[in-house]
């Protein structure tokens, strides 16, 4: 998408629209199966049609390729399939899950980091100093490797603090309290009740 400077095949649009649907439908989740049934009966297109097409195209291409041995997810999944550990539908679902769910939270967090950096030049200055110091000590390469970045304490602090003040997942991800009830964060919840962790709160 960076190369073309925009959404490819409406994939991001689809992902966003589906998230909107799901976050509303989760309040009436019993209706979701009915929506699916109606869609199917009327022969309407799948909500993820373009994402599915994108994934299928890549899978088809790789199946037909005799030379590619790129160490990516598809290749590793094909190897697992040879060992009988996954089947075609597993492969499709896993690749699909990555494509559909893999970019939103990262993109949001990166935007938040840049926002906070832009709003406080002192942070940028301190980060630059960290990079310059490590660079002069020969402790970082160009580009900085993952292992080296793990040792950059101020960078790690920026990332963690951004995740704290601007968590990308604003959903409560609710769980059902087991029948015997439970005490969470100092409050007692009876069994059967839904409890979740609302990160931005």
């Amino acid at each position: 998408m960076m190369r073309t400077g925009g959404d490819i095949e409406g994939i991001l649009h689809t992902i966003h629209k589906n998230l909107e649907y799901s976050s509303r439908m989760s309040l009436f989740n019993e209706l979701h199966a009915w929506v699916g049934l109606i869609n199917h009966t009327l022969g309407l297109r799948s909500a993820f049609e373009n994402v599915n097409a994108y994934v299928l195209r890549h899978l088809t291409e790789r199946r037909n390729s005799t030379t590619s041995s790129r160490p990516d997810f598809i290749q590793k999944l094909f190897e697992l399939q040879k060992g009988g550990k996954v089947d075609n539908s597993d492969i499709f679902n896993i690749i699909n899950a990555n494509i559909a769910a893999g970019s939103d939270t990262t993109g949001l967090t990166l935007s938040a980091v840049i926002y906070y950096l832009a709003h406080d030049p002192r942070i940028v200055q301190k980060l630059r100093e960290e990079i310059d110091t490590l660079s002069s000590e020969g402790k970082v390469s160009d580009p900085i490797t993952f292992a080296e970045a793990q040792q950059m304490s101020y960078l790690q602090a920026i990332i963690k603090e951004t995740l704290r003040v601007h968590p990308a997942v604003g959903l409560p991800l609710p769980r059902v309290v087991p029948p015997e009830g439970a005490e969470l964060a100092g409050y007692f919840f009876p069994g059967g009740v839904s409890a979740g962790s609302f990160a931005p709160g």
């Binding site: 960076m2 190369r3 199966a33 929506v35 893999g102 970019s103 969470l184």
Partner: protein, 121 residues
Amino acid sequence: MQRVYGHGTKFLKDSWYRAYGHPDDAQADIFSVMDERRHAANRRKVASLFSMTTLVSYEPFVDACNTTLVSKLGEFAARGESVPIPAWMQYYAFDVIGEITVCDFYPLSMSLFLLTNRTGF
């Protein structure tokens, strides 16, 4: 947190999750699947793909995307234009996931597809 969300938890997923998955429960993905045993089975299948050593092996793909991003930001700077950061951060994140998952050299893969014109796999 570990108690509620961790491995082997007694706190099962609320039906809230159903709205995030396929309407047919039998085809639920790993995020929305509510049955703990099915989730564990799904997780076992893909655990090796997300291990630390495997993730670190994807570093060259991330580096390639970083180079592209920096160069694109440079183009904006050269034109004196402001960058729509949220959009570009998502393009970047998508490109990284695309590279490590399916090899997303878009123009190349599209032309190959048109050449072979195969369907189904």
